[in-house]
């Protein structure tokens, strides 16, 4: 009797059932509210969906950049359950590095296409390397010594590291937003589909993001180090007992996150054509939100979250108002968290489980 009472599933409350239903189907409807509502409005007003299409395109390009940054948050959280608040600043320094290299590489808006591609690939490699190395160093200096400390210690250290790096940014380029040369003609239209304009910047952001995410996914899924990362994420102690060098695995995780941030840094400099010491804070906040929304610790979730937030931003900026966009984004996050705390495609983490 006693055993039966222990093993029997508790009766489901009505509120749990509602929550489960909304978690399964309702969130899709909630996510579609903005595009569907404004799509209907556009059809009524303009007789076409061009405006909505343009909003979505802007959203996708912003989302692609957010996704790359979000990967750094999700990888690190997945493996050591640390919110690396300094990650946004690693991205910012990647952006500053990239912009600083334009001139030494002789890149100007008048550089020939071939030279531009070669130069940008070299800058991409360097900015990825700089951000990756920086992230590894941060882990080694600021987080590793606190591995066995209470969780609040590395968390507050991460916040401190974020401020330190922001000040590095101020020392480097000053406290103001700076325009950088528009090397690719970021806002120039590349092609148009049914009245929806697709700019060079949009194509760059999406085309750069796809191979990077695919490479990362393949690395984590199939490489030896990737398997070590997954094992460490599941149970660090067991992984250590199985002969995995946990410290090295964690360093590699930080390296990968930093590499993605460096790539996002260059893409941002090319796409926005401006850099700012504070750009990492706001982008980092949105990217972290994207990682949580998609399911922190989950690579596909980070990408999905990035795109969702980018699209919400795109629609909200144009329809509701740029000043309200942060509130709209976080309303969505709260709704998703309430009904699906593990994120849209996330799984229960060690901590939650």
């Amino acid at each position: 009797m006693e055993a039966a009472s222990v093993t029997a599933a508790p009766p489901k409350r009505r509120s749990d059932a509602v929550r489960e239903f909304i978690s399964r189907y309702g969130l899709i409807a909630i996510l579609l509210i903005l595009p569907v509502a404004y799509g209907i409005q556009d059809l009524g007003d303009d007789g076409n969906l061009t405006r909505l299409g343009n909003n979505l395109v802007e959203g996708v390009s912003n989302g692609a950049i957010l996704a790359l940054i979000a990967l750094g948050y999700t990888l690190v959280y997945g493996i050591i359950e640390l919110i690396n608040f300094a990650h946004g600043e690693v991205f910012m320094l990647g952006s500053l590095t990239a912009a600083a290299l334009y001139s030494p590489f002789g890149l100007t808006p008048n550089t020939a296409t071939f030279g531009l591609i070669i130069g940008l690939l070299a800058i991409l490699a360097i900015s990825m390397l700089v951000s990756g190395t920086l992230n590894v160093m941060i882990e080694r200096v600021a987080y590793r010594p606190l591995r066995s400390a209470p969780k609040l210690a590395p968390l507050i250290t991460a916040v401190g590291m974020s401020f330190i790096l922001q000040n590095v940014g101020i020392l480097w380029i000053g406290a103001s937003q700076k325009s950088v040369p528009d090397l690719i003609g970021s806002q120039k239209q590349l092609f148009e589909v049914a009245g929806v304009s697709v700019s060079r910047g949009t194509v760059l952001a999406v085309l750069a993001m796809i191979p990077l995410v695919l490479l990362l996914t393949q690395f984590v899924a199939h490489s030896r180090l990737g398997k070590a990362m997954r094992a460490t994420a599941q149970d660090p102690e067991a992984a250590r007992l199985m002969g995995i060098n946990v410290d090295t695995t964690i360093s590699v995780t930080f390296l990968l996150g930093g590499l993605m941030a460096g790539a996002a840094g260059l893409i941002t400099a090319l796409y926005q054509t401006s850099i700012w010491y504070f750009q990492g804070f706001s982008a980092g906040l949105y990217a972290f939100t994207a990682a949580v929304m998609g399911g922190i610790g989950n690579i596909r979730g980070a990408v999905l979250g990035g795109f969702i937030i980018g699209i919400i931003q795109g629609i909200s900026d144009n329809r509701i108002g740029n000043e309200w966009t942060p509130a709209i984004v976080f309303v969505y996050l709260i709704i998703i968290m309430v009904f699906r705390p593990q994120g849209l495609i996330g799984e229960e983490t060690r901590e939650a489980g």
């Binding site: 912003n62 970021s186 144009n318």
Partner: protein
């Protein structure tokens, strides 16, 4: 036992008395010790300047300071028997650069209040900052002059102000604040007049949600209504937004005003609006009249966007001053070149010069009472009439506003705001 009780009661009473005395002393400190007409002791008077010395406004602030120092140098740092000490404070912070940080601004104002030798406070650069410093200084009866504030609500309850303004900035019930630039109702009228002259039929406004930007946007809406210019929209912008491309796609008018300051990400705003609307004419207020906005080499808008942009600033060009036979302005430009080596100072340099000149002339006018804040305050706000200055002849009205109304129209040439012509505009 009863003796112990008695001692406890006595201690409590003494404690309460001590707190009361301390509190009264605190009040005295707050008022700076000379609000009621008692003079500042000694022969040294301090003039504080509080401006954002970090971020995008750094260039404008440095120009203001250069102008202030020039005027002070010309006076030999003396007014009558008094030696004038100049103290420059930064109201911005590394984390909040380019504009007045509220906490830092409050700290600056309190520093001036606790300094018994304070006779003038020149600042803030941003109207939002003055919202913080003005009530603190007002309570201590410290006269304040701003070289750049344009928000209407600081001095009047004219359209564009908010409920409770301007009374809430004057807790002492007396006016202590004056400014040497025309308020935003004039600037808004100047912007709309320019747009009408340029053939604009409609305008879309973005504002940076600051006191200055949002207030000016409201004034532009009113001026547009008065001059029959259709307002398509007035949208607030978030300075931390990654970009403004989607927002810029909303702009369908033939003219656009970015009612904000450079530090609120208005380089990005102008770039995105220009890219999304290749034919739209672009207009900016004095908040973007600085190299950080106009000069691509200093991180400002690209040259092609600059070529489409016009800016209003309350100051006029040297040639215009010459045309008007304004000897004081000519002297300023000559002396400025001799002192700093440039014949084309930032537009705000002359404001700084006039701000300090007004302060020094006010002290001079009250003679031996230059150490008396109340006498100085009265002189500034009640007796500044038909003053011949580098900015032209003007008075300070009972609200603390200048009677000057001319605005200069600037275009961008070689990365610098360059004076084009005078705009004659009247509010209302």
């Amino acid at each position: 036992m009863s003796r112990v009780r008695w001692l406890a009661l006595l201690s409590s009473l003494l404690g309460a008395l001590a707190f009361g005395v301390a509190a009264c002393g605190g009040d005295d400190d707050d008022s700076g010790g000379s609000s009621g007409g008692a003079g500042i002791s000694g022969n040294t008077l301090t003039i504080y300047s509080s401006l954002p010395l970090q971020g995008t406004s750094k260039g404008q602030s440095e120009a203001v300071i250069s102008g202030e120092k020039l005027a002070l140098k010309q006076a030999g740092s003396k007014v009558g028997k008094y030696t004038i000490k100049y103290s420059s404070l930064d109201d911005s912070t590394a984390q909040n650069p380019g504009t007045a940080d509220e906490a830092q601004t409050g700290q600056n104002a309190r520093k001036a209040v606790t300094d018994k030798t304070t006779i003038f406070y020149l600042g803030e650069f941003n109207s939002g900052g003055t919202k913080v410093s003005l009530p603190i200084l007002n309570k201590a009866n410290i006269p304040q002059i701003s070289p750049s504030n344009t928000y209407v609500g600081l001095t009047t309850d004219k359209p564009g102000s908010e409920a409770g303004e301007p009374q809430k900035y004057y807790p002492a019930q007396t006016r202590t604040y004056a400014r040497v630039v025309p308020a935003d109702d004039i600037q808004a009228a100047a912007l709309v007049t320019t747009m009408k002259e340029d053939g604009c039929t409609s305008v879309h406004i973005f504002n940076d949600k600051t006191t200055y930007g949002a207030g000016l946007a409201r004034n532009i809406e009113l001026a547009a209504e008065n001059q029959s210019l259709k307002v398509e929209g007035d949208d607030g912008t978030d300075r931390n937004a990654p970009n403004y491309r989607s927002l810029a796609a909303k702009v369908k008018s033939d003219c656009f005003v970015g009612s904000g300051v450079t530090g609120e990400n208005y380089v990005q705003v102008f770039k995105d609006v220009a890219a999304a609307n290749p034919t739209v004419k672009l207009y900016g207020p004095d908040g973007v009249a600085e190299e950080a906005f106009t000069n691509p080499a200093k991180g400002g808008i690209p040259a092609d966007v600059g070529a489409r942009t016009k800016i209003t600033v309350a100051t006029l060009g040297l040639e215009e001053f010459k045309k008007r036979n304004n000897a004081k302005a000519e002297k300023f430009f000559t002396d400025y070149k001799a002192e700093y080596g440039t014949s084309q100072p930032d537009p705000y340099a002359i404001y700084g010069y006039e701000t300090m000149s007004l302060a020094l002339d006010t002290l001079k006018a009250v003679g031996d009472k230059a150490n008396d804040r109340e006498a100085v305050r009265k002189q500034l706000l009640e007796n500044t009439k038909d003053r011949e200055s580098a900015l032209g002849v003007y008075s300070i009205d009972e609200n603390g506003d200048t009677t000057l109304t001319d605005y200069g129209l600037y275009t961008i040439k070689n990365g610098l705001p360059t004076f084009e012509k005078v705009i004659k505009a009247q509010a209302g």
